[in-house]
Symmetry: C2
């Protein structure tokens, strides 16, 4: 499909909070990602302050360059909220009182046992001929309305409200009004393999040029995204994903977009723990609760945190073997006896001579054990995140053997 034929889109954010830097605009990336998958060509993100003249001019400018605009913010009850009025001015349409929007707002306040302030009445005025987008999650109704060329979707800036409006109304409306060809996204979630290594392994595969390859480097996980063109042959798609999976080996812990849904390594472990009905006890050192925080109360029975490894010796026998992988395994066995559960995870650490941190992780259950040593470097926060992930990943690997 020719890039030039894709409808163009602008992401338009408003509000003093965003323009002054008081708030990071996460809406823009969220909306852009959704648009791209639907098949739009995103040509601009624009943010302006709460200024009527600038707003009117910007809406008119966007109308000249784009087929579609997703606009967030400026729908609130205060004098700074100017989007609806600016739209009416930009395209010379009157504002009309929308009784349903008003009633929905009144109901929202009633449910919270509050009286609706008179100032909120303003939010029930929408541009004539606009279609209301119901807001079941807050007070500000949104609307969709056409300029001369561009179709504008105006939504509140509150991410939760905006995301709900998008999924319940906007995505369907976009598919009805534009001849777009939604692409298909398959995400391979990986753990323990660097972005450049992934890149190199992918380069060797000669993936067809029409399959868009992108990375989302996260900490500690990396995502490899394969975006397939609209109506790509299913058999070829599955073959392509399988080749990539084979090339990345056991670094891939989940594949999203083929029916299964796993949103993170913690989610993957949670699904396995529940499916097998097992319980866990853990001992964390360096990650200081970063592992416990990612476990679920349904199966995490207890965690001991000792930020300093020496203090572990108060409750567990080190047997003069020093801090190493063998000791972490020995302590995991003690832990199973001390705080009975099906599985025990133990993390110890020690600075090595290259000023890196060696992390010793062990998992033990009645079916066997697994241990690893990893050398980590960088800032403490980064090392802690990786250390917690090492616990999750080793636990996952052990669960797959049960």
């Amino acid at each position: 499909m020719d890039n030039n034929k894709r409808p163009t889109a602008v992401i338009f954010s408003q509000g003093d909070e965003v323009i002054t830097g008081a708030t990071v605009d996460t809406n823009a990336a969220f909306l852009a990602d959704k648009c791209r998958l639907l098949g739009f060509d995103i040509i601009r993100h624009i943010t302006v302050a709460d200024d009527m003249d600038v707003l009117v001019q910007t809406l008119q400018d966007i109308d000249q360059i784009a087929d579609m605009c997703l606009c967030t913010g400026g729908l609130g009850p205060t004098q700074d909220d100017l989007t609806t009025e600016a739209f009416a001015k930009a395209f010379d349409v009157p504002l009309v009182f929308d009784e349903t929007a008003y009633q929905m707002m009144a109901k929202f306040f009633t449910q919270l046992n509050l009286t609706m302030p008179e100032v909120n009445r303003k939010q029930a005025y929408l541009p004539a001929k606009a279609t209301r987008i119901d807001n079941h999650w807050g007070t500000a109704a949104g609307f969709v309305s056409d300029g001369h060329r561009c179709r504008f979707y105006c939504m509140p800036g509150v991410p939760y409200e905006m995301e709900n409006m998008l999924s319940t109304f906007v995505l369907q409306d976009l598919q009805q009004h534009f001849s777009i060809a939604p692409t298909r996204l398959v995400t391979l979630r990986t753990m323990g393999m660097g972005e450049s290594t992934i890149q190199q392994k992918i380069n060797e595969l000669n993936i067809p040029a029409e399959v868009r390859i992108s990375f989302r480097a996260g900490l500690p996980e990396n995502e490899l995204k394969l975006t397939f063109p609209h109506a790509y042959d299913e058999q070829q798609l599955l073959q392509c994903v399988d080749r990539v999976k084979q090339a990345l080996g056991e670094a891939v812990y989940a594949i999203d977009g083929l029916g299964q849904s796993v949103v993170s390594l913690a989610d993957c472990v949670d699904q396995l723990m529940r499916a097998k009905g097992l319980s866990l006890t853990a001992l964390e050192t360096l990650s200081q609760g970063g592992f416990a925080k990612q476990c679920q109360a349904d199966w995490l029975r207890q965690t001991y945190i000792y930020p300093v490894v020496d203090n572990v010796a108060n409750d567990f026998a080190f047997q003069h073997r020093g801090v190493n992988e063998t000791t972490s395994l020995a302590i995991a066995n003690q832990l199973l006896l001390k705080a009975p559960s099906d599985i025990a995870v133990v993390q110890l650490f020690c600075e090595n001579q290259r000023s890196e941190v060696d992390i010793y992780t062990s998992v033990v259950s009645s079916h066997g054990s697994l241990s690893t040593t990893r050398s980590l470097t960088g800032r403490l926060q980064r090392i802690q995140i990786n250390a917690a992930a090492a616990c999750l990943n080793l636990l996952r690997k052990h669960l797959l053997t049960l």
Copy 2:
């Protein structure tokens, strides 16, 4: 100072990663916040994709509407990195090879024991008459150069490199080239008081109109920001801050911008624990390590995590008094004996009959104790954050009495 007289600024981000939503643009908020404090009027954030014609046009457009532009991204070695060339085209200046930029890059590669690929040579070309901005943190040199009206600062998109260039070069250059009047920011950090309550208390104070009041609602902390005009009388400033502090009472745990620096509640507790040279043992339930994660290994000796309160009874005596504030205090006393340290913090919880969660927090040391009960509601993640913050805040209050 009249708003209209402030120099205008545009924040300009580039790159496919940002426009497609693969990356959230945190640079824009960071740069906008710095500009605003310096006294600039930020009129737009603009993001475009890696397209030469669009880049040239956008640079020319910005030159028409702004006095200054902070531009990030597009300085890398690949074919998608077009900023420097686009700037040269937009303002009809040649590109010139910069020997120093080249040597710095070569040195950067040498330090990493790598050979510089030939493709990086491109990064040493800068627009004629531009001033190089040295990059000691990566490969891409930045530059500052004037359009017809606007002064453009072009920096890499990597936040770490950009932030370092900003603090070592750009901020000083801005102050030299613009007659700006830096404002003064004082931030009151609060805990345990809602945004609307803060707003109401502030409204009653009749703060002078020239003092800009803004909020940053965080979880679990709220910040009240007072921005004072350039050269505001110091005595009046201190009086104003003091009045606000009195009005908000003990909700204020720190004030930033008057010499002292405290970046969070955890930082506040850390400073107190270090100053007093004390150690801590804790027992967490609902927050599952969220408290331990915010403590420092220098003084956190040990934490027990029991996601389910019933399991606490395996290691501590409940004495048939049920789960309540008294029990949390009793367990804190047991904890001091079991894992000796100067202070013990205990968190228990119980769902109440209104489907809220009651959190019982206790702090005990040889100098006395403090306990609280708080009812929390909402999503689990939100409750966990608030529960961990309640531990920190109670510990802070206890530390202030020692």
